[in-house]
């Protein structure tokens, strides 16, 4: 079947009714994330790469370094480019072809979370002012979609950037020596700009939905939070959220981000 096999109405009823009692089908509480497993260096050819598993959801993220001229309006700053691919490999719902909106949104939301937070010190990526700067390429690939690719992708991007090592740059010949990695990492903030996506299912909120729960989500808000400061947010899908509920959402996000950052640090050990 090429049809998008969304969860049925009856499953939605079960999920919503259970949620109204503060429970989820897999035993989690609404504010719990699934088990987070991070495998490092899944590609020796990447400057940094990880496999992130959030429950059954899996993404691969790799960091590659390149050099180029800086943008004219920021001659001292390096660049960041985040690309996401929702591979048909990972779900019967994705098709081959140029990235459609969900993949584009995934890339852009992740980019915003990394960029706006100040996680990456762009000025330290400058090689020669006005002439040469580093570009950090972060490429995200979905491997299995069981919900919440948004947060999984972001966690993967943070992890890959954290473990990345700079290649040696041969200034004389203007060549990057990928085979010679230095011991130097990327210029990063010690805190992580975790992304917390809060979903509204029926009258309740939850995070880290499984595929079934995500199908029943009416709307979602993704926050990029680093060290208690919210530096990016995006509300997606169509249902509105009242102002009062939105205030609840902000509180939830802040609390959950702290826990998620702890979870991330643990998984990276």
């Amino acid at each position: 079947m090429d049809k998008v096999r969304t969860a049925s109405e009856i499953t939605g009823d079960v999920i919503r009714s259970y949620l109204s009692k503060g429970k989820r089908l897999d035993g989690r509480k609404p504010e719990d994330y699934r088990e987070l497993i991070i495998e490092k260096d899944i590609s020796k050819k990447a400057e940094g790469s990880v496999r992130v598993k959030l429950g059954k959801t899996e993404v691969l993220v790799g960091v590659k370094m390149g050099t180029s001229e800086p943008y004219p309006d920021s001659p001292k700053k390096g660049n960041l480019m985040v690309t996401a691919e929702l591979l048909p490999l990972s779900s019967p719902r994705f098709e081959n072809g140029p990235p459609k909106f969900p993949a584009i949104e995934l890339g852009r939301v992740t980019d915003r979370g990394l960029r706006e937070s100040g996680f990456l010190d762009f000025e330290k990526l400058c090689i020669k002012e006005g002439e040469k700067v580093w570009t950090v390429f972060v490429d995200i690939y979905s491997i299995n979609d069981d919900g919440n690719l948004l947060d999984a992708a972001n966690l993967g991007a943070i992890a890959a950037m954290r473990i990345a090592k700079m290649p040696r740059y041969d200034e004389e010949n203007d060549k990057i020596l990928y085979d010679e990695l230095t011991n130097e990492g990327l210029p990063l903030n010690k805190h992580a700009p975790v992304s917390v996506t809060i979903h509204k299912v029926g009258d309740n909120f939850l995070v880290d939905p499984t595929r079934e729960e995500e199908d029943m989500s009416d709307t979602r808000v993704t926050f990029g939070i680093m060290d208690g400061i919210i530096s990016s947010a995006q509300k997606g899908e169509k249902s509105p959220i009242s102002v009062e509920k939105f205030k609840e959402v902000f509180e939830m996000a802040e609390k959950i981000a702290k826990n998620l950052e702890t979870k991330l640090e643990k998984a990276l050990k």
Partner: protein, 233 residues
Amino acid sequence: MIQENERKVAVPGEILAEGEDYLPGEWTEKREGKIYSLKYGLVEESGKLVKIIPLSGTYTPRRGNVIIGKVENITFNGWVIDIGAADNAFLSLMEVPRYVNKDALEEVMGIGDMVIAKIWSINKRGIDLSLKSRGLGVIDEGVVFEINPNKVPRVIGKEGSMIKLIKDETGCNITVGQNGAILINGDSIENELLAKKAIIHISDKSYIKGLTEEMENFFKENKREQSLKEEKN
């Protein structure tokens, strides 16, 4: 009497038996006196008949199958139902046991609703479903999920023994669709989820011998965990 012989796993192209008097059963082929497997699955020999019981593969609809499907679309005279096969199935309003007004199809079943139906005909035009039998109809409540259709025989068990075990242990009503979709109705969500967990466990371990014993242990373990949890609280 078909004996459950050793659960040997075969891969495509593997030689299962050699000799002129062996007969090629389902998912096997005879070439130059050798029986070859055509699928990844369990080898079953009954006498000289060698066949493969697939461990995977999509659902092949058969006449008489009771299935659980989801309403994908409503036409002027019926419902288009996704049963997990390559083609959608069709339920005509004439095949519903009570009178349905042509303008009121939506009231009986809407898009996204799940229904238990029987395949009464498969022809060039497609797969035709009927609700004119006991136990069939729209699903109002319960937990619905899917397993691989090839695992259904193990979930049901010899003469229904396995499904009866689950029903007894969880107190739930369970409908198993031949297409791998399963409906569980119990007195509590906890029991419904336990039954679901049990069925998924059977599906994962479908290839082992002594599956009944495995499941009896599964329920014993679960009871133990439950009482430990209650003690903690």
